[in-house]
Amino acid sequence: MNQVGRSIPRVEARAKVTGRAEYIHHFTLPHMLYGKVLRSTVAHGRIKTIDTAAAKAHSGVHSVVTASDIMKIVPHPYYGPAFHDQPILAVDKVFHVGQAVAVVLAEDPHVADAAVQLIEVEYEELPAVFDEVEAAKNEIVVHDELKPAGTFTDLKHLVGRKNTNIALDFQLKRGDPDGAFAAANRVFEHTFRFPTQLAVSFEPFVTVGEPRADGLTLHTASQMPSFVRLEIARLLGWPENKVRIRVPLLGGGFGAKTYIKLEALVAVLALIAKRPVKIAATMEEQFYIINNHPATFRIKSAVSDSGRVIARECEVWWNGGAFADIGPRVSQKSGFTASGPYDIEHVKIDSYEIYTNLPPTGAVRGFGIPQLVWAYESHTDIIARDMGIDPVEFRRMNILREGRPHATGTDMRDAAIDKVLDTIADEMNWKIPLARGEGKTRRGRGIGIGIKASISPTASVAIVNISADGSITLSMSTVDMGQGSDTIMSQAAADVLDVDPGVVKIVHPDTDVTPFDVGTLGSRSTFHMGHAVRLAAIDAKKKLEALAEEAGLPKGTNYPPSEIFKKRYGMQAGNVIGTATYMPTYVPPDKETGMSSDVTPNWMIGGAGVDLEVDTETGHIRIHKLINVVDCGTPINPEIVRTQISGAAIMGLGSALSEDVHTDGGQITNASLADYKIMGIHDIPAMKNIAVDAVQKNGPFGAKGVGESAIFAVAPAIANAIDDAIGVRLTHLPITPEAVLRALRIKENRPIEDDE
């Protein structure tokens, strides 16, 4: 029986409905200390003095740790996946409000919390820069020198660069954009802004460090156990196998729990204290640890009279905050898709990752794609409406079709952009004209569509272990943070081995026993780990057949595994271990042109259609219908896929309508769920969630990733529908009632005047 393509319930569902699911949030060890972090109150400054005496004297405090203590264990205490720029604790200077400066350790977390407030830090404030376009002028420089990590070859040219905030400048040039613009009749240019938002995992960042005789174990809420291991080993100068990273389930991750967050700090604290140490961030602290990139995107298109986009120029400034984290990957790997899902002959892309004095930004659901789609799908719609062409028709004329080269030069394969577009149009009854209404409430509809390349090239390894009774254990470092990977991977293994998925036990990431995986991010697991699991299961199956042959069993007979083991070893004994590594092919983009013939193993497609009404007196919108359509190849578990589409779209609604981190001089003024509004149960409109009938031919079981696709286009679809309803164009997110009303009043020539 096929196990793939079935909607079995999640394998960990019972643990979750009984309150017994394992999260590091709960994890404690005997003799454990709790750490509380003192965070910088200034955005940029030199640390003059740190007075820890009162905190140290506070009853119940074990110790107070600053950078000088850290440097006794790690002389060069800087970490990061792309740049080694982030200090474990601030060394001499601070670069953003909320940067970790000191830690109090105590047996009672409440004591640590009270004592941390007794630490006095005196700063000499330095000029700070917060806006990405402003920072790109390099008038105020955040870091004295760029320090690329060396992990990524395309960052090597940045070594030692000084007096710049530009951590990465990626360029793509295809055809002759300058010539095409010069010759064009119709040119459109717009600038869009995407605000600071964040993942807001309900399990905030948490890590427990456990010094052991044979090294160090970190129990951590991480999406990247393998990376954490190698980065901690690098910092300590240890071999990888002395560092063990253990990750059970995550209470959400959404990209924020990638790379190093609390791990480096907790690792060193545990070694200093020679005791287990736990740091659990609060919800408020999450706002200072990692955010999504705010971005400014200037986009310009040359269009023929018939409505073909001939040339497109994209300039994207990504606000990376004070430390690079994975930002330079976001600005490159997503940056090269900035011209959108369109077949355009002449393209120029400049994508800049920029240091500022805001808290660091990194990966959040979409890996930069929502920032781009927000701009290019708003821009595309403006062009269509201006030219009097139906927005769906305009896209049909311009989208990339199967086999056509993307701007990078990579041919589109198994990218059902047309099908996604057609499905949205059909579900919206697009052919039937919509009555806009005449009273104070106006109706409109809009669509949007985006594409994402897989972050490449990345490796995944899986181990399938068949025990002598025929039960199966799957070991892998993919992290289930709610997306359902444990379930679909057990289905993949079960399908190959022709057993019920319930027979497959998943070993959660534990780098002592689970093999390498780049990480659970960018919707890569289904494709990459899915391949590795499938191949490891095939390997196990072959080895079982060989064992049967050794046991003298006739070839091709269908003995149950337990019989084979018994026959071979004379008792219930032995194992069969299948293993496999998967890494797709890849050609890096040319340094000069940004072109590549093989830039991604697959394209993920996501689109949205919105039917809404606008209250012209208040600016409130009410969404009648939200249609979310993706191409994720062939779903391995259709129900889980539907939930992923729905969940991503709901996160997209928050991103579009309410989520906005407010800052004032680098201080965040709404760092709580009371003031940073995420979607609640009353905010969810009628939705339809569809995965189009498609096959990713080079994917495992025809599948590819889906966790992000439905977030791509929600915001531009809403903005396009508002324009359709009231003829007003929003260029900044979020689209609050106030923003709609202000824009409407400007259009009516009676702008809302603010009190002085």
Binding site: P9, T18, G19, H26, H110, V200, F202, G647, I681
Partner: protein
Amino acid sequence: MTDRLINFTLNGEAVSATVKPYHNLIDLLSQFDLRGARESCGQGLCGCCTVIMDGEAVSGCLSFAVRADGKSLSTIEYLEQDGELSAIQKAFIDTGALQCGFCTSGFILMTKELLKRNPNPTDEEIRDYLSGNLCRCGTYPEVIEAVKAAARSQ
């Protein structure tokens, strides 16, 4: 600060505990290794820390542990009886009404409270009653289905 001994009923059993004046219900429950109620936002806004105290849902992160003295607490862990899941828990599994699971305990406890008061709620009544619970994975449509399925099976 002075420790205090409190006596209360926990999931039907008479128990006692020593707590500090600043401990909240989540700190208290962790003494009993009950981890289903979890502090997330710390402001009583997300519902992850929902605990039932004398028949009323409270935010465990905002309720001092000493308040439990002489009271009766129930948590998500008491819904499973002798290895058998309750109808609500089954409904959450069958409808796929959970993703990361961090908020799930709160939603299930509030569903139980809702169905106790209103055995056949409309969609709007479900939304109103569960509006104090947030789910960052966005599992709201499935939760509404789960509540309706649970109502049908009771």
